[in-house]
Symmetry: D2
Subunit: 346 residues, 4 copies
């Protein structure tokens, strides 16, 4: 049994790790931390865990944690992560970090969008953990930077097209919509039920959302050239789910049948990417509670644009599920272990 | 008092007309029809109306209706509308039609997207009833085609830019999101609570939604040249509201301050269009229950694209409120009469 | 025009007062206060008000407010209200207080459920402002204690039965369900969208909710004898609305027809209480956005118990709408002025 | 591997069986039926199942089904179930029936609440499948009548008190609230998103809901005497979950600590009943997606009444999960096999 610690276990990605790992046959969670709830039982914070978990949340003392765990999930806010990850690595632990701290390869980019990086040398070592694109490197990594939720949906949605150079990389627009859990569990008026319910809004309009550099880094690598995108996030009155509607102009002649075939081939054998048949499009309702990314696409006959729609559960394939998928790969477990639940519908 | 009939009063636009007209000082609703609920009191179908309305739904017999009403709202499905509107006109009544039947100027377009038109000669007479663009013609019209909900949000969002030729008309993408009331009140599995709640999806992807010809007709008129757009509608788990996120590439140099100024000027004096300050973007939650269209916009500094976000209540500015606004104009009433309610928040 | 101040205007009852008073022909809001948002425009906090209100939130300085307003709504938390209400009264202003501070007649009760009262002498003067029970006293009062939301629904639901001594007062159980806006607008994890959405729970179980003394005080007055009730509040994932299901054992023989008749008589002429026909029961969806209290009732043939179901919009008949109704009465305005909107459905 | 057929697989309990059985190591689903969707792949109807199920829905031909399956779940409407269950039994198959057809022991009761029973002799054989009360009989049964959702929550909530004769059985009131999936997947206006969302209502008020005879039958057996209850169901705007708030007067002296102890003892060793600590009460949000029944209780100090709150996921412990629990017992599998998922929160 792999002994696992969850650092920052009182947020939504923390509880999701606990929920999913409960069904993982090779893992035992030995240690959970939370600054604000230290001393409380996890089942007190998250009554879903009652009678199945009996763990007390601790303060974040890396050395003491490292004594009891061999594998670490850091589910902390950015900055808090880079304060502790190096210690865990020095202590010989392998880490999947769910924050943004190790996703960008370029420390200047990190500084431009966040703040100066505290251990920029690790940016070279960290592997951006999108298994469908980088499985072999993940397997050998000590530090995996778990992708953001919006980036996961957009990169998986565009990867086949960019890799095959079938779209003009200057024309990409990603109009993305997220459930409210993406905003985390901190007490803010903006995320109160009555502020969100029965309403829909855009936010971070105009190229200011911090997921942009991460998306552009990965899309540029796929395209083989630097590109920029227009990205607009929106807030949907629902708990979970991200749906990204992505627009791009084809680089040459394309057919819908050909594109679907391309996507099928590209994702052939992938356990968690489902390419939908022609004229089928995903809904977040059909991936809720699962680690799937569903992708549908079409060509707008009148304007010629390609439209790709991809959907994930932001807390699973967009966070904790993908983190466990990475952990499985890093430890030589079957990649789908603990992740085989189907979506909860309705 | 203007005697008004609502033909097709048992759907969501029908009840919304009743609700809004209850507060209109110059109007008396004398007649309501419904094929499926004829014989029932409207308050039985819509208990919100209890103790304030005491009207029995009738079968749709135009001559008998015309005896008791001088002004007609037809809130019928397309095709059903064009079966009765000519009769009302011949009987000397003025009509605001909430269906799609008289929105397109070109009968071939109507045939291509719907079916052959039964009275194509009326397409020349009917005025597309967007007051902000066509107030004078509405005032004198006998037949006003009330705009669709998606078109209202998109046309108002783009009008200033197209009119001033500030965008490349070949680059328009409208990614629109609607609450569920837009789907009407008919019993379909797809619109059941459990099918919609806590999920988000695209539909009509790839240039197939019937609002497209209407949007393109009006945008082309504004631009002074024929254009096509990419339009993707989505379904939001909420009752009311449409938010359209619209992308276009500028035709030349633009500044954000200049654009906001342009929109302010363009909509100066309009009672129901609110241009938001820079860096403010609308939410459907802030127009719910009101006749407002809120518009925010920005320029994406990294890609240069203009992004416009517009929000309406689909049942009010997107349907029944705009219909009453048109009625007010046609009858010389103050345009805001009966429409001054502020949004219901939360 | 009556010059009105809203003290505590940045919460949900504050904005609801602003929204409703916008349509009131005899009132002008001259002054709004908020401790945490002083200096901001109300339309910045509540964008629904944009282009219709242009008021800056001020600090709470009673003397300066009293210079500009003749009538005061205090929409403050309990305790904060009793710190300022006496000053307004001394300055000759009339006050409707929406907090709990003046609802209980007995200072010991207030101390037992809240804390020691700062001006207990006012408890004798204040009138509990349920217009249907106490219209004449409200008309002459200087200080009206606006009833709580749960109490409004329960007292109106039981008044006819208790007044006529048709139920055994020892057998009353009120199982009540509220939308989330009842919890106010403060930033608490418990009220985050993701904590509330798609879930249902009881809270304050076992006789500990602070609305109990207020309910029992009024029910005891109606019954002519002291009574206690079992009251369980629940949280419904919706913005607005309270529905109370009330159980009581009849004191003697009763018939359903007789009970409906009794309720019809009791509430005859009331603008805002609708007694539903036999076998009809209310939904909060049908009172949302209106000042109505809908009441349906039946007799369980198998157990003999009377079951009463009453529904209100907690922010309107349960708070701001009732406050305006009281203001209308106190100022000799028609009681329904500004309150005639029908429910927003859907 | 046990070969299992799901008869009536296109409703919400059908898909829930498929979802849960996907994770069951001892079961293979070989056959699914649906009258209205015969010929379609289950993944077409329920896209959550894509890439994990490849089963075509068939017409209901019992003999052909029995050739390919050894164990049958009938997830049909009442009446449709009793038309086929006898055939499956005659063919030597064991059946868990999720309809109401075999829950009542008395054919006259069934006739009074439903219609004349077609095979009343089976009512004696069928075992009411609440494992916590009747595990041994279930193990040997050929036909298990799977309990209704409301009954499961109420019977588990009251069993310890009635068994120990600690409450007056004439005083029981169950005020129950259900998510919308309880209404099934048929296309009815009443269950449309816009009719349900953001509203709360009672229905079946006054002793008319068909779950009453089933609840009373089981409670009477526990109490050792015939009793009647007052039961009011309500509709909550959420997908899943039932929460029952149950009131009863104690038969003698009781203490809260004693009651919690009693419940703990009564349910000791039960995998799926969680008795909460004093002053903790359940939420449907904490059992959503799991097979748990959470129970909290208290004594109202002021009125002396006992208040019990129980919560389940109506589609799992209230239907498909309990059906699988029964299947596990009938086949000698560990009772929790395939049912160990924790609740999905948020």
């Amino acid at each position: 049994m792999l002994k696992v610690a969850i650092v920052g276990a009182s947020g939504y990605t923390g509880i999701e790790l606990l929920r999913l790992l409960h069904g993982h046959p090779e893992v035992s969670v030995t240690c959970v931390t939370s600054e604000q709830s230290a001393g409380k039982n996890v089942a007190e914070i998250f009554p879903t865990l009652r009678s199945r978990y009996n763990l007390v949340l601790e303060n974040l003392e890396p050395v003491r944690i490292a004594e009891r765990a061999d594998f670490i999930f850091t589910a902390l806010p950015h900055k808090a992560a880079m304060e502790v990850v190096p210690t865990f690595l020095k202590l010989g632990k392998r880490v999947v970090d769910l924050s943004a701290d190790y996703r960008l390869h370029d420390a200047r980019e990190y500084a431009a969008w966040y703040e100066p990086h505290m251990n920029p040398e690790l940016l070279k070592e960290a592997i951006y953990g999108l298994p469908e694109l980088r499985r072999e490197k993940i397997a050998e990594a000590d530090l995996v930077a778990n992708p953001g939720c919006y980036p996961t949906s957009i990169i998986l949605g565009l990867a086949p097209l960019l890799k095959k150079k079938l779209v003009n990389p200057a024309t990409i627009i990603a109009d993305a919509k997220s459930g409210v859990s993406g905003a985390g569990r901190s007490a803010k008026v903006d995320n109160l039920y009555c502020e969100v319910n029965d309403g829909f809004k855009a936010y971070g309009v105009g190229g200011v959302h911090r997921h942009i550099p991460e998306i552009e880094q990965e899309l540029s690598l796929l395209a083989g050239k630097q590109l920029t995108i227009t990205f607009t996030p929106h807030l949907v009155p629902m708990d979970r789910g991200i749906l990204s509607t992505i627009y791009a102009e084809p680089a040459g002649e394309v057919s819908l049948a050909g594109l679907v075939e391309l996507y099928r081939d590209f994702y052939h054998g992938e356990a968690f990417v489902r390419v939908l048949p022609e004229n089928n499009f995903p809904s977040t309702a059909f991936v809720r509670g699962s680690n799937f990314c569903d992708i549908g696409l079409t060509v707008d006959k009148r304007t010629g644009r390609i439209v790709i729609v991809s959907a994930i559960d932001n807390l699973i394939k967009g966070a904790s599920g993908q983190a466990i998928q990475n952990m499985n790969i890093m430890n030589g477990f079957p990649e789908n272990l603990g992740l085989e639940s189907l979506g909860l519908f309705p």
